[in-house]
């Protein structure tokens, strides 16, 4: 177990060296959420702490999900996948490694909106809850990215297109731009099915002290989504690996 964890760390180290500055990661992980955020806030008179909480949750969502969908198709294309498949590591270990690289990227970049927020006077009322939420959400969204990367293709663009088709609508139903309490009842039901809703709620609580769901429910929901995503990712990758060799 510890041996496999060490090997997952080796895979994460390799991923960090290779994938952090790849084009699709920068475009879909950093530029895309920034422009999406600007498009919604410019011209609207919204409180700064509300905006920073939304920007932070969206940043974790996009950045944590930008690395994992890139790795599998790229390694299929560059013929590195067979080497990993022949190594004494399980598929779960390989995915854990990829997830770890993605989590660290997500956490690192999410510090930017926090620092920006603090620089313009926003205070973090619940820093420990925020830290726990960021870490948990980074794992959850990275695992979600692994599901997309199980698509048996060597085309990164195909995986990114599929993941964008899912990510984009989730941003609108998760209380990032409109508080959940202001959504119609069908919108609130939809919001409860999105993992992004719960980290957004945690961010609002951490910055503004207001929350829609109880904090324990936000954390429990993220844990449940993480378990579901990771289990599904392992199953899907086990199935798709032979097709990608």
């Amino acid at each position: 177990m510890i041996d496999q964890l060490k090997r997952a760390c080796a895979i994460a180290k390799k991923d960090i060296r290779i994938y952090y500055l790849k084009g699709p990661v920068v475009i879909f992980g950093i530029l895309f959420p920034v422009f999406l955020f600007l498009a919604f806030v410019i011209g609207r008179d919204l409180p700064v702490d509300f905006l920073i909480a939304g920007l932070l949750s969206m940043t974790i969502f996009f950045t944590s999900m930008s690395i994992t969908p890139v790795i599998a198709p790229t390694e299929t294309q560059t013929r590195n996948l067979e080497r990993l498949a022949a190594a004494p590591v399980s598929i779960t270990t390989v995915l854990m490694g990829d997830m770890l690289a993605s989590v660290l990227f997500g956490i690192g970049i999410s510090l930017v909106p926090i620092i920006v927020g603090m620089a313009i006077g926003v205070t973090v009322e619940h820093p420990f809850i925020l830290a726990a939420g960021i870490v948990l959400a980074a794992f959850c969204f990275s695992a979600m990215g692994l599901i997309f990367s199980s698509t048996p293709t060597s085309m990164t663009s195909t995986v990114m297109m599929i993941s964008t088709m899912v990510k984009f609508p989730l941003v609108f139903i998760s209380g990032v731009f409109i508080p959940i309490s202001e959504l119609p009842s069908w919108g609130q039901v939809l919001a409860s099915a999105s993992p992004l809703t719960y980290i957004t709620d945690l961010c609002r609580y951490s910055f503004q002290g207001t929350n829609y769901y109880p904090i324990w429910m936000d954390i429990a929901a993220l844990v449940i989504f993480l378990v579901i995503f990771m289990t599904a990712a392992v199953k899907l990758h086990e199935k798709s690996l032979p097709k990608r060799l």
């Binding site: 496999q4 090997r7 180290k13 390799k14 013929r79 590195n80 067979e82 022949a86």
Partner: protein, 311 residues
């Protein structure tokens, strides 16, 4: 556990892709410390077999034992003692040669100090030490292939699987790799070599298996395989004057006569007797023998005969 006398034991190994049977109930074993050649035409099932032996894909049926470890029940332990050079594999081109080797060391749980020492040794052996801090994307094909083999040796494996390791390489690089394989074999490593190059298999392998349509067509030592296809020995002769090929068809032991340029090729199962008869012929017709060679079948002849026979 199937057994531990052999390095590799394969029983009833089968793999289907939809309706197509890629590997059809294979049974064979590879002895400890031998270089085992695995030959076959394109699409014969070689790579699928190697992928099942190395635990990359799961068989539909059958068992594979690696040093007594069942690849399905103990995949991690079995993979730990293998080195694998896949057919179309690549090193990470964005990383340096050194980082690629260190990644392999970490992936196989090699202690840091041993990993560094082994990487230095291998880079030296493969003449890559000067380029250790260069990114692999700047390497030639030959250098990349040497690095890929070095990567497969980072865990000091007991069994080495190589799928077409010299494919597309220049003569010098191919020779270096072949010499390295012989050296590794001398050190006691078992080598499972898939190749298209018959001469390479002939030079390196103590036994070869020929696979076609997912089935083993023959399995034996190269020389024994050549002996199996009797009647394929021939005597090649050239005289100082043109001769009529039909003069030779009635010679005792001669099965077939063919002209090949200015040479006459007599297929015979009695090469010694045929030579005497050719000397008699030259004396009685006042001809001079310019060239005379006896030739035995090559592994390529065996391969073609066996694979054609299964078409």
């Amino acid at each position: 556990m199937i057994g531990s006398m052999n390095a590799i034991e394969v029983n009833n190994l089968t793999k289907h892709f939809d309706d197509f049977t890629a590997v059809d109930h294979l049974d064979f074993e590879v002895k400890n410390g031998e270089i085992f050649g695995f030959l076959g035409p394109n699409g014969a099932g070689k790579t699928t077999t190697v992928r099942m032996l190395t635990g990359i894909i799961k068989p539909d049926l059958g068992q594979v034992s690696i040093m007594g470890l069942d690849i399905r029940q103990d995949p991690i332990k079995a993979k730990q003692i293998m080195g694998v050079v896949p057919e179309l594999s690549n090193a990470y081109t964005e990383l340096t040669a050194w980082n690629n080797l260190q990644f392999m060391a970490e992936l196989y749980g090699v202690p840091k100090k041993d990993g560094r020492q082994r990487a230095e040794e291998l880079l030296g052996k493969f003449d890559l030490y000067e380029r250790k801090d260069h990114k692999v994307r700047t390497f030639s094909k030959g250098m990349k292939q040497k690095l890929i083999i070095a990567m497969s040796l980072m865990n000091d494996p007991e069994i080495l699987f190589l799928d077409e390791p010299t494919s597309g390489l220049d003569v010098m690089s191919a020779r270096l790799i072949k010499d390295m394989l012989l050296e590794l074999n001398k050190e006691g490593k078992t080598i499972f070599l898939t190749t298209h190059y018959m001469e390479e298999a002939n030079q390196l392998c103590s036994r070869v298996a020929i696979i076609n349509h997912g089935k083993i067509a023959a399995i034996d030592a190269p020389e024994k395989l050549k002996m199996r296809i009797g009647g394929l020995e021939w005597v090649e002769v050239s005289f100082d004057m043109p001769v009529d090929a039909s003069d030779f068809s009635d010679l005792s032991g001669v099965i077939d006569v063919r002209m090949s340029g200015d040479k006459l090729r007599l297929y015979t199962n009695e090469p010694g007797r045929t030579i005497y008869q050719l000397v008699d012929y030259s004396l009685s017709n006042d001809l001079e023998i310019v060239m005379l060679n006896t030739l035995t079948p090559t592994l390529e002849d065996v391969f073609i005969k066996l694979t054609e026979g299964m078409e």
